[in-house]
Amino acid sequence: MTTATGRQIPDRLTSPLSRALKSWEALLLVVAVAIFIANSLASPYFLDPWNLSDASFNFTEKAMIAFAMAMLIIAGEIDLSVGSIIALASTVMGAAAAAGMGTPALVVLGLGTGLVCGAFNGLLVARFGLPSIVVTIGTMSLFRGISYIALGDGAYTTYPDSFAWFGQGYVWWVITVELVIFALAALAFGILLHRTNFGRMVYAIGNNATAARFSGIRVEKIRFILFLLTGLMSGIASICLTSRLGSTRPSIASGFELEVVTIVVLGGVSILGGSGSIAGVVLAALVMGLVTFGLGLLNVPGIVMSIIMGLLLISVIALPRLWTMLRK
């Protein structure tokens, strides 16, 4: 019998190898490699380390948030305010920079604003039991609204030179600071979700929150922590993006929330909660980045690009369903 989450409990376990080969991650890996090869054939400019390094900015900031968002969605919640958290954190940092604060203070403020916003979302969802989609649609307008009130049609542009390191700096050769943060975040969230009790509890809540509660899991506390993590990652993304742009406007990062959710869903995380992996999200971020960069190199108009992204998303999600339907 199918539960509300659409998950089936298999009556016999398949071998780990065949499971790995048939997994979503394997499919995504194949797609990523195919896109990589197609891009190298289509454009002579694709296989250039510097170009690929520049192109990584297409996805690094969004992917950082996508890791936290993946855990949130696995637990059956969602946060649509992440783009607005970026805007608010960036505005706070901009105001502080205009007041003459140095880079360390700006970083603390960026992270702090992210955490406060995450805590606000988490409090409303976990303490007052409000649905997260409603809460975060509200805070999406609220957080960005505060930025608009503070800035209007103005901009903060007076960041200290050392602040540029996060979004424009290189750790070694073509490896950007943002790529390193992306990799570290992937590792940290991978361990948190797949190797800790906390991660098991997140899956348990996503599959059946009531059963999880009766098993002694403090559901509200974990939900609150997940919103806090999403806020924190949005704060980190805000530092990177603000540093890369070297300026803040209230319209910064508009539309990011949908792109983040797209990466998570493309990564194989069930939008109904209960399943998904960080490896899938990493691969999905790479696929998104490769597709947009490859099409950009061919000067495909943005409108056509979004149509192709939409088709890719639908087909990658529909194919496994079709496959199982045909096999029956």
Binding site: S43, P44, Y45, F46, D48, W50, N51, D54, A55, F57, N58, A155, T157, A164, G167, Q168, L241, R244, L245, G246, S247, R249, S251, I252, A253, S254, G255, T292, F293, G296, L297, N299, P301, G302, I303, M305, S306
Partner: protein, 332 residues
């Protein structure tokens, strides 16, 4: 090596040779716009293509994000840097946010200019304004004067936006400076419609009541000019009071045809795209240099002179009348 392998290698080499040959003879200029699918920018692209045809060895890459975000424009510019285009001419969604990316483009030897909507000075070699305040100030009073009797003085009034609108205030100030050159015009007053359609309409009605001999209304705002033309039409004073100023062809087409407005002005996007391409070409070719005081040729548009901020004004605003309104009203 297999036969297929050899064939592939030969093909790859051939391809490599072809691409280098193509690069040697063709200059690639990217026209980056605020967003695709906007009539104004499509028209600018027409102008850019016209310039490319005239220059012969230029390929235009017309591109931009789907919506008017700085982030989207940065992704587009990054892919242009990767393609090693020769020049980027951008109408920016954000004065400051594009600067780091455009700096990187310049570091890699790409010519960068901004046009229409500018980038901060450190992010571009020069900026092309469609016109200048003094040219606009002169044009709006000239349009009024040209349609009035040459002898005697006719009463004319100004319908502006808000009292604090920087653009409008500057233009009106410039207009008053050159007013003595048009002795047949007497500016009797300025009212403010706050760029709201209904308030502008009432202010225009008020002008016609206060000055019964009013012969023209100058509205240097696209909201005000439409409202004034409507007020003149509703008062049955078409032919008696001429409405002119700055407006959009698509919004003014009806009023030009009815005669409420004999002519008005605004920049011509085709000329703007054409001039931006010409500038990018000469700067990339290194037969011109972007420095204060320099003059750079822009084909059929003559030449522009850079001011101390490396900004240049293209030309007088373009005049639209019954003769050309249909051609442009479908564009913007």
């Amino acid at each position: 090596m297999s036969v297929i392998g050899k064939a592939l290698a030969t093909a790859a080499m051939g391809l490599a040779l072809m691409t280098t040959a193509a690069q040697a003879e063709e200059m690639r200029i990217a026209l980056v716009v605020k967003a695709l699918g906007i009539g104004f920018f499509e028209a600018a692209n027409k102008g850019a293509e016209e310039a490319a045809k005239e220059l012969g060895d230029v390929k235009i890459i017309y591109t931009g994000p789907t919506d008017t975000t700085a982030e989207g424009q940065i992704e587009v510019i990054n892919s242009l840097i990767a393609q090693k285009v020769d020049a980027i001419a951008v109408s920016a969604n954000d004065t400051d946010a594009l600067v780091p990316t455009l700096k990187k483009a310049m570091d890699r030897g790409i010519t960068v200019i901004s046009w229409d909507s500018g980038v901060a000075p450190e992010g571009r070699q020069m900026h092309l304004n469609p016109s200048s305040s003094s040219l606009i100030g002169n044009m709006i009073i000239k349009l009024a004067a040209d349609n009035l009797p040459k002898d005697g003085t006719s009463e004319v009034a100004v319908l502006s936006a808000t009292t604090t609108s920087t653009n409008q205030n500057t233009w009106i100030e410039e207009m008053n400076k050159v007013a003595p050159n048009y002795p047949n015009v007497k500016v009797v007053g300025t009212v403010y419609g706050d760029d709201l359609a209904d308030k502008s309409y009432r202010e225009a009605q008020g002008l016609m009541q206060t000055y019964p001999n009013l012969k023209a209304i100058i509205a240097p705002t696209s909201v005000g000019i439409v409202a004034a033309a409507q007020a003149v039409t509703d008062a049955g004073k078409v032919g008696q009071v001429n409405v002119t100023g700055l407006g959009l062809p698509s919004e003014m087409a009806g009023h030009v045809k009815s005669g409420a407005s004999k002519s008005f002005a605004i920049w011509n996007p085709i000329d703007l795209g054409y001039s931006a391409t010409m500038l990018a070409y000469h700067l990339a070719k290194k037969d011109a240099e972007a420095k204060p005081g320099a003059s750079i040729a822009i084909g059929r548009m003559g030449e522009v002179k850079l001011d101390d901020k490396n900004e240049a004004a293209m030309a007088d605003p373009f005049v639209y009348d019954a003769g050309n309104i249909d051609q442009f009203s479908s564009i913007f």
